[in-house]
Symmetry: C2
Subunit: 343 residues, 2 copies
């Protein structure tokens, strides 16, 4: 019997997840029943939100339970089909999770056209992270030309799109990242107006200098010290779309004091700020607009993107740890199986 | 020479302001120059925002300086006029501040019609506090029929209007106040669906019980323990218009830890909450709508209100201390001089 592999949640992690919590095992390749397809995973997307699914607390999506295969977006090839409309060799976007093979009844499958570009882009700039940037910036950031947009995790899957869109919209784009090469990348390759390394001791001063007219939109991906430095720079009527808080995903208890919540709410009031949490799937009515706009910007060369592709499902846990600590460079993708384009 | 009285800022207070910081003095009644009117103050509005004007920190309005007369909204009678369009005996809304007499060049003066009801209402339900409730609830709370609206400082000048408007809009209105008689007032007289005393030891449990379907809109007037208890009850897509934070106005340092900001931002993200600070004067384009709607609701008896009128400018400081600690019952107004309606 042919064998497949999967990574499942063995125990809820406190703090950083390791191979104690996320275990790899061999399983038989499943056989599709009538009305199902068998999928082979080519690319698996690794994204910060996955940390939340490993925590047994109320969140926007239910957590997974010990024994469950880790969830995740994937690009797959149909190997066998007992479902009308799908044939072997079809390439599909699917939520197959951290495994080499999966069954599907077709729910949520979307066919991809391999002629339209690299398949992995469907997990990044033309997929969920790109759409997150698009919906968050347009629906909640609402930047006007001439305003200053700051984005954290600026070289990441979402951040790199936010800053480039801000430039397209006529704004000053300032990126925050955690390494010198990331900062160079967003200014030199992506064309941000400025970038600041939050690990520098004088980061708050550098950020203030990079935002001489204050900050109108802060696209929040990280929380922590970056949020602290941006908040005092916010202009009246500034908007903070809250997309992620990766600095806190491994927190197991509230940090020590002082309690900064009252001061933050004081600024919300006196500067009439808006903090607004959002999730991309609340905005799926904008998906077609996104594909049209982003596809156009990519074709025109106005949006660039970077991916870090790691080979092998067995390296997913270490790669995910790197994502939570900022070791990745660009959108992180696991190549689980051969890309047909490489044949 | 006739004498007037004023209360001026003698020193920036840390913590609760006292007569050390706000000093009463006698001054000559000023004489109007050409183009000016002399005003006699009848009613002075005392409002929580005034605490901010006594603090030398950046805020939405510049603070006043030691030596300056305390600012404030007033209803006045024109005593002498050297300004076209105003005659002795006219009753006007003016920002004359904490004093018995003032000069004005007409800027910001609005004539009031004494036949339309009690003059003091122009400082409350038909004035800035009523408009604050109206603009904040409609523009930022945006409650839909059937939703639950919680308002803190529920028996205060703003809160009492918020809850009654929520009922008019078809919502469940839940008030939070700091005394049993205030809670009875908002349910029995104002018709809120429920009220909870935040000084009760089991306040969080009582509040949860009063909001069986969670909270869709929290109209924030106080901060502190009330905010803490409401936040976990917020429903997905809940809105928190931030109007005031009276529990913190005397804070001289951040409270001790733990730091609750990360947890609050976590809820903003996962529940897609909106925190939005606002000030009524950003919405003055809605003023005519407000006067029409609120005037109608008052005439129909659908909105009730309560005032606490304290006699004598010399009692303003003690009354203001009571406002910051919740001793007042309803909109707090100082009767500085005789109301012509009492003649």
């Amino acid at each position: 019997m042919a064998s497949a592999r999967r990574i499942y949640l063995a125990a809820f992690p406190e703090g950083m997840p390791t191979t104690e919590h996320l275990k790899l095992e061999e399983v038989p390749v499943p056989a599709p029943a009538e009305g199902q397809v068998l999928l082979r995973v080519i690319y698996l997307s690794l994204d910060p939100y996955m940390r939340g699914r490993m925590s047994p607390v109320r969140s926007y999506a239910s957590h997974i339970n010990p024994g469950d295969t880790m969830v995740g977006g994937t690009v797959c090839e149909v190997m066998e089909s007992r479902l009308e409309g799908f044939a072997p060799g079809d390439i599909v976007l699917a939520g197959a999770g951290w495994q080499t093979h999966a069954l599907s009844d077709g729910t949520g499958l979307r066919k991809l056209d391999p002629a339209r570009g690299p398949l992995s882009a469907a997990l990044g700039v033309l997929g969920m992270p790109g759409f997150t940037a698009y919906a968050g910036l347009l629906e909640h950031g609402r930047p006007k030309a001439g305003e200053t947009v700051v984005v954290s995790a600026a070289s990441g899957a979402v951040g790199q799109v936010v800053g480039q869109m801000a430039r397209i919209l006529g704004c000053r784009a300032v990126g925050v990242a955690g390494a010198e090469d990331k900062c160079r990348y967003v200014t030199e390759t992506l064309g941000f107006d400025a970038a600041v390394n939050y690990r520098d001791a004088d980061f708050p001063e550098q950020l203030a200098a990079a935002c001489p007219d204050g900050v109108d939109v802060y696209f929040e991906n990280v929380g922590g010290a970056v949020f602290d430095a941006v908040l005092p720079l916010m202009n009246d009527f500034g908007r903070i779309p809250v997309c992620g808080r990766i600095a806190h995903y491994n927190d197991s208890a509230p940090p020590p004091g002082p309690d900064r919540l009252p001061a933050a709410m004081g600024l919300v009031l006196t500067r009439r700020l808006t903090f607004r949490g959002f999730l991309q799937f609340d905005h799926l009515d904008r998906w077609e607009d996104f594909m049209r706009d982003m596809g156009g910007w990519l074709a025109e060369g106005r949006v660039q993107y970077r991916e870090e592709i790691v080979d092998g499902l067995e390296n997913a846990v270490e790669a995910f740890q790197g994502l939570l600590t900022g070791r990745n460079r660009g959108k992180l993708v696991i190549r689980v199986g051969e890309d047909p384009a490489a044949r």
